[in-house]
Amino acid sequence: MAVLLIALPLLAALAVYWVISPTTRAWMLPVTGTLHLVLVLLALRHWGALPANAWLGLDALGAWVLLVISTLFCICAFYAPSYLALRADRDSRIFCVSLLAFLGLASLLAQARHPGVAWVAMETTTLVTAPLIYFNRNRRSLEATWKYLIIGSVGIALALLGTLFLAYAAHVGGLEEPLHYTRLIQHADLLSRPWLRAAFVLSLVGYGTKMGLAPLHTWKPDAYGETPGIVGALLAGGVTSCAFLALLRIYSVVVAAGEAQFAKELLVGFGILSMTWAMVFLVRQMDFKRMLAYSSVEHMGILVFGIGIGGHAARFALFHLAANALVKSVLFLSAGNIHRSYSAKTLPQVTGAIRRTPVSGWLFLLGFLAITGLPPFAPFISEFNIAAGALTTGHIWAGAAFLVLLAGIFIAMSETVVQVVFGTPSPQRVRTPYSDTAATTAPLIVALCLAGILGMWLPKSMQTLLEHAVITVDGRMPLREVRRVPLAAAIPQAEVPHE
């Protein structure tokens, strides 16, 4: 199963290269995406504690992240055929190959049990997503691609150094290869502390660059601003989730070694810094795609902030991963539609979208309200609980700053969004033949509904999955074995504070 999850998209990527008809090629995306999602759902029945020497396998954390990425990919894949039909002038071959290869590598990352393999998967996702950013083939997208490649590669090189430091920490402590995560966590007390701390800092900087945490996010507004909306959605919800997972794996080792305090302070600091930075650049942001990029910087900040607070907040940070991915897909895809309709993405040109493209306009507005925390959508639940988690565990200042920043970002973004959606049509606007169709809006409506449902109801099995994912993040081994065992035995254990 583990291999199939990786091989299916990679084989599809290989096959799609040889398909001649652009329509068939485009439809291979939703077909592969659906098959992959079905496989992930089947695999979800089998997740559990893995044998220490396994190279690949799904534990709770990996399963949760893979479920999010696979769902997101499915939504984007169903949007892709109609999008590519509109862009018939472009050769979509490399585009489809890159998209499918990304899905395969994300599956590899989610299942990797060795830091080296996880690093290789993360590096390769950077490389396969670079051609996606260059899809528009103009100077601006070229500049964005170059920045993405250079900054991303340097970040990923630092993450590699962090991985080597981790291996050396084990080597100094007398722990030898193969250094699977399970073994690292079980023998965490042997690791050399100075090297382990350095490893965490480098991993945070390295994978943080890929996530787009401030001040390492400089590639993000350019890349998200210049790519098609569909790629923006996948980068903001998929690639960032992959990097977050890679970081969490190292974090769990650090926590298991008893260095949690040090790591948590860093994460909270980076979280607050990212949110502040995003807020500053969101004020009077004229380009609505760059606005979404800064919003993504903010949400990466929320993720690491929640993990840094720990406990209740960490659980909702993982939940926020799903909430963010779903709502970001709505925002990026509807922004793509509006961009297409106006042939512009900056404010004076784009106003009154609700009249020209009513469905996309409404989706953009609702997506904005959802991402900034309107109930009943999922981000409300996660943002509320992360704040509550911070305030109830004595992080009064951090919690207060978090709430103030959320409010500030809402105000800053609303100015741009209200003008884009409701503003009076500008005389400079360009008329293009694009109008909303069922095919370009239905996947977005599904994503928004999913975000609404997740905000009100989370299936029991998903709750269990999340519980166990948090235990994994906290550097403990979930008690569930590979097959179903009574969960009553596992959950009380989860609530024992880890000191």
């Binding site: 290789v120 590096e123 260059y134 601006r140 070229l142 500049e143 250079i150 100075p194 507004p221």
Partner: protein, 211 residues
Amino acid sequence: MSPNFLIALIILSNFTLVSTSRVNKAIQITVVQGVLLGLIPLAMGLGRHLHILGMVLVAIVVKGWFIPFLLRRAQRQVHIHREIDPYIGYTVSLMLCALGTGLSLILAHMLPLKAGATEILLVPASLSTLFTGFLILVSRRKALTQVVGYLVLENGIYLFGLLLIEEMPVLVETGILLDLFVGIFVMGIVINHIQTAFDSTDTRHLAELKD
């Protein structure tokens, strides 16, 4: 041959690299660095392990031949010979590089090393090479020279990896080399596009996107 001799040569090659303006020469130095890096495990007396011999061979081929070959090809396509007017001048770069090397020696002294690894200068050399790579990346304007900087950065990381060469499984090491190779390959393609789009590979042209 003592491994420290090879390491000293690598540090010297760093100095040459930051003070040269000719792209040709910079690429030649990366060849030298790649081969020296590849030979260190043999100098450390690890030639008896078959998998390490394999690694040595792969590293020399990839770092000493294949990547410089890609860089040369990119250079021929975009016709650049000199790095003109870098953000940080050559003399200042050289001094910064010397300063970085000194700091690396101090920093490496402060980290606990496993017994037996202290007499080999791998850690300070690795930090110093990393620093050189960063310096080239941020101080040069040409896209191709920036890729050279990235390669030097990776060489620094590889030097650190040599501390662990007996423990690292071949799979992971090959993965890392393969990624490096593909990364440079993709960057080469992008450089070519930059050349066609802007008629120059100066990254100053890549400054249209900002807030």
